[in-house]
């Protein structure tokens, strides 16, 4: 007997997944950091799909509990010391090659990704850019999920603009700008007049005190180079 239709359909799909590297297996420290993160960026944390990457063995079941307690969704672990525990719990175990950072360093050639259907740890902006035309006032927080944020006006001191992708401000940027909110180290921040209180890309940040010798009051661009935050004047 033959069926006229398949029961399943396989489609390639890009998924935004954050890699959670375990630096310290102390559960109390982990719990405290997760709580702080969830407080600062509740919208990003809720439902965040994660893959746990650890070089050391740790209490995987307890760690999963902590992640889930703040609303994250751990999908699996990277191949390594946690693989055994993961398999026992029925979690996915992903090869380390899945979704390496795409910012190439000078001596390694950019690897062509032969498996586009696999989830990438660096999300490519899947959503259209979010465009804001009115001033972003003090106390307002705008989060462009899975894409870029474009502000065609000013960002006031005390305002926060956040994006998983890049942030473009066609005006004065005087508040906080957080790009690459889910870990995309390729994200950049552009503005016409830099007076930001805080600039952050993929978790690497600098406050106004540290930027003060930079291009304040002028068009500027911020990006990560080898993990270091660079804030430079932008002239054509």
């Amino acid at each position: 007997m033959t069926r006229s239709r398949n029961a399943l359909e396989f489609k390639g799909r890009w998924l935004s997944i954050t890699r959670v590297r375990v630096l310290d297996a102390d559960l109390d420290a982990i719990r405290a950091q997760l709580a702080a993160f969830a407080r600062q960026m509740p919208a990003a944390v809720k439902g965040m799909a994660t893959v746990i990457d650890s070089e050391v063995d740790c209490e995987l079941a307890a760690l999963l509990g902590e992640l889930r307690a703040v609303g994250m969704q751990p999908l699996g672990v990277s191949e390594g010391p946690l693989a055994e525990r993961a398999r026992a719990l029925g979690l996915a175990v992903l090869s380390r090659e899945a979704g390496k950072a795409t910012a190439p360093s000078a001596d390694t050639p950019v690897p062509a990704d032969p498996r586009p259907a696999r989830a990438a740890a660096q999300p490519s902006p899947a959503a259209a850019a979010r465009i804001v035309e009115t001033p972003v006032r003090s106390g307002q927080q705008i989060y462009a999920q899975a894409g870029d944020l474009i502000v065609l006006n000013t960002v006031s001191p005390g305002a926060e603009v956040i994006a998983d992708g890049c942030i473009h401000v066609y005006g004065k940027l005087a508040g906080r700008a957080i790009a690459g909110a889910r870990g995309d180290e390729r994200a950049r921040i552009f503005c016409r007049k830099l007076e930001a209180e805080l600039i952050a890309i993929a978790g690497i940040y600098a406050v106004a005190e540290q930027i003060k010798d930079g291009p304040r009051g002028a068009p500027a661009q911020a990006y990560l180079e080898h993990g270091r935050l660079k804030i430079e004047p932008h002239k054509v």
Binding site: T134, P135, V136, R137, S138, G139, S156, P157, G158
Partner: protein, 268 residues
Amino acid sequence: MAKIVVVTSGKGGVGKTTTAASFATGLAARGHKTAVVDFDVGLRNLDLIMGVERRVVFDFVNVIHGEATLKQALIKDKQFENLSILAASQTRDKDALTAAGVERVLDELAAEFEYVVCDSPAGIERGAHLAMYFADEALVVTNPEVSSVRDSDRVLGLLASKTRRAERGDGKVREHLVLTRYNPARVAKGEMLSVDDVKEILAIPLLGVIPESQAVLTCSNAGVPVIREENADAGLAYQDLVARFLGEERPHRFLDQKKGLFSKLFGG
């Protein structure tokens, strides 16, 4: 249907009640039936500034709770019969205000008056939120100094998002900048933000600049809104402000230092 105009600021002590009192008086003086309502439950001041503190029987909270009718609570101004004041309660606190209650009272006022001026308390909590929630237009009162400007910016964000108009998508609450306690001498010395500085940061149309004036204190002690003091620059500035609100073109006065005799004789 009346226009509901909130006088708000975020920062305390910048001149909201002073402005609300003079603004409402100015509108009434020009023939528009106006009601001015004090939303600062527990710390009421509008009645003092309007000179009606000895005639308050029922207040805003009494009306909301059905303990009195609006007619019983409204106090008619002695000078302008077009002008009525609704005082706040002094004994209760802001939790006595409910959104439904406020809406009902404002609807009743809007049916009878052309303009309903809402004097907001300072801050961004319940009293301030309810004062701005039903507004069609807003006077954002700001002192030319950094904390006031930042607080006004916060309030502008709330006006754009946490008002009935914003939630219904009914068109924006129209925002007007009122710069108060302006001191041209200090601006010239660089101690105070200039009109242009504030306009650049807040980016809303300038309705008026009220110079720092001793008359404000004397008038408040006398229970007379400063707009009625024709000898005071502040009074005249409020008159200009009302005129501009009603669509007239008036150049901004009192922006420059008063020239002393010396500079008048020798220029500069």
